[in-house]
């Protein structure tokens, strides 16, 4: 039987936003679900996140933003991953993100966006179904 390694996920806080309640809860939920978790801590530039994601060889990057700069920050992470040939790293996001922006971000390559009210179970389930070890 082939031994599959555990899913490795990165929870990242791009930009200057300090709201980390959600990101830290999600990181714990991922850990409790059996994923390997890397949490970047706050105030990361898109460049730093992409560099860390590649270095840490993660299967998914989960971005959290609650201060309105998600459009620029999320899109830039997706673009930089593509430039580095790492577009197979799944990017998802969460936070205070209006519906209009969700559409734009999804068409830019962000696979899923979770907004306030999403349950931990729902998010974990989505990761299990959509993220496989690379």
């Amino acid at each position: 039987m082939k031994h599959e390694r555990r899913v490795r996920v990165m929870v990242a806080k791009p930009g200057l936003d300090g709201h980390d309640r959600g990101a830290r809860i999600i990181a714990r939920a991922y850990r409790d679900a059996g994923f390997e978790v890397v949490y970047t801590g706050l105030h990361q530039t898109p460049e730093e996140i992409v560099e860390a994601a590649i270095q840490e060889d993660v299967d998914m990057v989960g971005l959290s933003s609650l201060a309105g700069a998600h459009k620029y920050l999320f899109q830039t992470v997706v673009e930089l991953l593509r430039e580095r040939g790492a577009e197979d790293i799944v990017v998802c996001g969460g936070g205070i993100i209006p519906d209009e922006d969700i559409k734009k971000l999804k068409s830019a390559g962000v696979r899923e966006i979770f907004t306030p009210g999403a349950t931990l179970d729902e998010i974990v389930k989505w990761v299990k179904e959509n993220v496989k070890p690379r």
């Binding site: 200057l16 980390d20 700069a69």
Partner: protein
């Protein structure tokens, strides 16, 4: 010592209570209680009934008393809302200084009685809009302030000699305050008459809000500089707004909010005393800022306990004599984290209840959240409804007719006592760790809050706690149209051009000298404030000055624990 209740009555109450419990047992034997466990939003267990027996040891004069009298459980002023209503102070900030200035004028026209400024993320973190760190963030969650020119545009046409201004700013608080003072002086207003507040509470940044620049120790040193400067130069200014709001928003319980906030207040007091200031010289200018969350009675009890605890701390621990040093004056904001994106109009009701709790708790000023704050920066319409909510509480509901209307409730008094007791236990724990700075270095409050936040989220997911419209009464495929304010991406370019114009019109040599002076003050022990005022008048930008702080003190990195 005069007990509130005559001890003779307790035997009778105990007997009657036992009889009632027996009756209750029979009722629930047929059909059990509605919930397995009744608890507050902080998961504090609540009993089925409260009686005078819960207040056996209470001394009316020593513990409750009268408003304006120690320990101020019922309010800091003797008259409370019979004299003057709380200040209706709506937090506002968006886009450029000119945009926010328009919003300020609207709010003042609609009856608001104080100003409150929200800054954008780059400003909050000490970066100019043209910094690579600031890309995509200009004006998104507040107003962008890079230079004195922006500050002048922000308050243009507003009567800042008569209206007080609150500014939610922390790591760069000294610089933003310097800009405000410089702006007033350019308008011919003496700094001695300026009234307002800078949040300037760095300790809670490391614990909860997470906007930081330099490590904790030098951050608190700059805070102490502002306390010293304010005490001597700007006597009507609140130098720190010691904030529990963000602690609660980060997921703490009500008791943790209370304990960590007061522990922060203790730390600032100790630092100012070390500076050689007399407690009664600076303590009257400390103000507080709390959250008003969903659990109505828990919140009212928290506010009442907070006032009594601060009075006791200042008197017993620090020997303050001036009654103003013992007063906990506080601003309240309703709980942003309690609002839901689903069925957003329900947020108006949540906010009304939370605003009511703040008023029943005797707040000095109040911000009520707008229904759309969970989606974006409020539209004018939503901000107006939020202000009207306060006006309805104030002028229609009748709750402001009498002072501390819930005082004497067996439940509220018991809860007030319990919150005080539990919060003091936490404060003693922090004292044993070596005070709040040491506790922060050991990640103690951070971890406590993270645990509480995770516990609450689990309770929601497991349906132990209800969030209406989210885990109960949800609407499938909900599509309730709410207008959402969008900040124009082009603002960033406009703001950068404006800042560059200011930079091009400065005397380079004078500026260099100003920045050096600030650096020398930071390296040494001289108070940095006057040098900052001189520097912003010479055109120094926010980031240029914050870079001096970062160069001298180093940068703080988030430890990234979860």
């Amino acid at each position: 010592m005069a007990l509130t209740f005559n001890p003779k009555i307790f035997q009778d109450i105990d007997e009657k209570y036992a009889a009632w419990k027996k009756k209750l047992g029979k009722v629930f034997a047929k059909k059990p209680e509605r919930l397995k466990r009744f608890s507050t939003v902080s998961d504090k267990k609540i009993a089925d009934i409260y009686t005078p027996a819960d207040l056996k040891d209470q001394d009316f004069a020593a513990d409750i008393g009268f408003p304006g009298d120690y320990p101020f459980t019922r309010g800091v002023q003797p008259s409370m809302y019979r004299g003057r209503l709380w200040t209706m102070r709506m937090f506002a900030g968006l886009g450029t200084a000119e945009d926010t200035n328009r919003r300020f004028h609207l709010l003042v026209r609609e009856g608001q009685t104080g100003l409150s400024t929200a800054f954008d993320m780059p400003t909050l973190m000490g970066y100019d809009t043209d910094s690579p760190k600031a890309r995509g963030e200009c004006g998104k969650c507040g107003v962008a302030i890079d230079t004195l020119k922006d500050m002048e545009d922000l308050f243009s046409g507003l009567p800042i000699d008569r209206i007080t201004t609150s500014m939610t700013i922390n790591p760069p608080a000294a610089v933003i305050w310097a800009m405000y003072i410089a702006m007033a002086e350019h308008r011919g207003i003496d700094r001695k008459v300026l009234g307002g507040t800078i949040q300037n509470d760095m300790l809670k940044e490391f614990v909860a809000q997470k906007t930081f620049m330099c490590p904790p120790e030098p951050s608190v040193r700059i805070v102490t500089d502002t306390v010293e400067f304010g005490t001597k130069e700007v006597p009507r200014w609140n130098t720190i707004s010691i904030s529990g709001y963000h602690i609660r928003e980060a997921g703490s319980t009500a008791v943790q909010e209370l304990a960590f906030t007061l522990a922060d207040g203790i730390a600032y007091t100790e630092k100012a005393l070390e500076r050689g200031l007399h407690v009664d010289a600076f303590a009257p200018r400390f103000s507080f800022f709390f959250n008003s969350h969903l659990d109505f009675f828990e919140e009212v009890a928290k506010f009442r306990a907070a006032r009594r605890m601060w009075a006791r701390i200042m008197k017993e621990r620090f020997g303050a004599k001036d009654p103003r040093s013992l007063w906990m004056r506080f601003h309240t904001q309703t709980a942003g984290c309690s609002l839901t994106a689903q069925q957003p109009y329900n947020n108006v009701v949540r906010t009304a209840l939370q605003g009511l709790a703040a008023v029943m708790g005797g707040t000095q000023s109040l911000h009520t959240n707008s229904l759309d704050e969970v989606l974006a920066i409020p539209t004018e319409e939503a901000a107006t409804i939020a202000l009207r909510t306060q006006q309805i509480i104030a002028e229609e509901s009748g709750v402001a007719n009498t002072i501390d209307p819930l005082g004497g409730s067996y439940f509220v008094e018991t809860l007030t006592n319990q919150m005080e007791e539990e919060a003091f236990e936490l404060i003693h724990k922090i004292d044993h760790m070596g005070g709040m700075l040491a506790a922060i270095e050991q990640n103690f409050p951070q971890q406590e809050i993270a645990d509480a936040a995770y516990h609450y989220q689990k309770q929601i997911d497991d349906h132990e706690k209800t969030v209406v419209g989210v885990n109960k009464y949800a609407i499938d495929a909900e599509d309730i149209p709410v207008e959402v304010l969008e900040i124009d991406e082009a603002l960033e370019t406009i703001q950068i051009e404006k800042t560059h114009r200011v930079k091009e019109n400065r005397d380079g040599a004078a500026l260099k000298q100003c920045l050096e002076k600030v650096g020398e003050a930071c390296t040494g022990t001289e108070n940095v404030m006057e040098h900052l005022i001189t520097a912003v008048k010479a055109g120094a930008t926010l980031q240029e000055l914050c870079d001096v702080f970062r160069d001298v003190f180093g940068s703080y990195r988030d430890p990234g624990i979860y």
